[in-house]
Symmetry: C2
Subunit: 279 residues, 2 copies
Amino acid sequence: MACSLDPNENLAKAEYRIREAAGKGAQIICVQELFRSQYFCQTEDIGTFDLAETIPGPTTESFTRLAAELDVVIVGSIFERRMAGVFHNTATIIDAGGELLGIYRKMHIPDDPRFYEKYYFTPGDLGFRCFDTKYARIAALICWDQWYPEGARLAALGGAQILFYPTAIGFHESDAAEAATQHNAWETIQRSHAIANGVYVAAVNRVGHEGPTGDGLQFWGGSFVSDPQGRMLAKAGDGEETLVVECDPRVIESVRRNWPFLRDRRIDAYAPIVSRVID
Amino acid sequence: MACSLDPNENLAKAEYRIREAAGKGAQIICVQELFRSQYFCQTEDIGTFDLAETIPGPTTESFTRLAAELDVVIVGSIFERRMAGVFHNTATIIDAGGELLGIYRKMHIPDDPRFYEKYYFTPGDLGFRCFDTKYARIAALICWDQWYPEGARLAALGGAQILFYPTAIGFHESDAAEAATQHNAWETIQRSHAIANGVYVAAVNRVGHEGPTGDGLQFWGGSFVSDPQGRMLAKAGDGEETLVVECDPRVIESVRRNWPFLRDRRIDAYAPIVSRVID
């Protein structure tokens, strides 16, 4: 969805869309990254920290109520104020019935022109986590995490059946020529996580233009779900859209029997992966 | 290329094609996996071990001469007899000038109906390696290694600029319906290695039909080179073909500045990747 400058309006819109998805039969519903505000990391502004909230807090209270009412799992995304001076980019996993199962704090924090996230977010300290929800065992990873095979692998080794990626990715207007390449790479690497691990991947991205006209970010949308063989089951356009996609755990079982990649991992040889560079 | 039942004929054909590539300006030339024979792993046959050779041995001698004569790097692929009872699926890296820089022994060994590699090949014990050739720092990984982000990552952390994947992948005739999905996944995951690591990836695959008519393997060819953003620079069809593709190291520098994935890896959190499963 597109976001306005009013956090309450954005929450109301998200709630409306969660109801819409549930009405269409969705069981696990994921919102986009930082859906309560525009993507504030375009600038470094000390006042922006006022947007942060605690967990539990207003957003989890709202989603908890909704999850109980609709009997759906909700993967939320919150600018978390953990304590004075420590803020995170956090996903909340609320089970059907309304229990807050836990949180995931974005582990990989980007910093690029117009994406000044290192200013706002302390890197996550909870590692990569899985959650047993009513409908599936899932993991949430967030945006920049998308580019790291390690995060997807660790979530899959933990038993995740679906990886959710709340996202806010777009391009600066001056980079429009590069946008198609970036968008394609973004899809490719996430589909590859599905393939490498035999899991479903759901990427949920922001849409719309934010920032000054002619000098802002255009979020490309294109939310999608990939099956465990990397096939696109559904893909949104660049406007607001609610996708409801069936993910069958029997497909995971079958794909992993046919493509037994997890059987042959060389765990005796991977230790140097914790090196920055192998000199 | 397609392979006959005569190892000497296959070597002669490979030499012819290496000359052809060098004539077109190629500097680093990679042959397909186990190019000296048909893909013998379709059956488990004790006599087949007679095809194995030592390193150095006849194939490296031939490639060493050729590399010296043509001033090209040659990435070879050999069914290696290391000692009685220990055989490997091995890549040989011969520098321009003719020096055998070293070898890589296939780390991930598949075993599927018609791909009985665990019968023939002891898993590699050399880890993932990089080689400074005259023209680039490269790594060779082999076929099934393709499906493992860890191998690509470790090679890239070691400084590889191009990952070469000698390959023999195809489909059993009864699986033709699945072939397009598999082929697409195969491309996708290798392009994702290029993206995740900011490297070039060159996949070099066998073509042709081998085995009994109506009950054999159809190798799908489709050799390709991906740039560090996952873009297909060139792609072969399903017949014999020699691709010559320019890989510019300045592109690696530029892509990694624009997509600084390696900067933000959470090496403090990846250690559990050496687990089989995270229970």
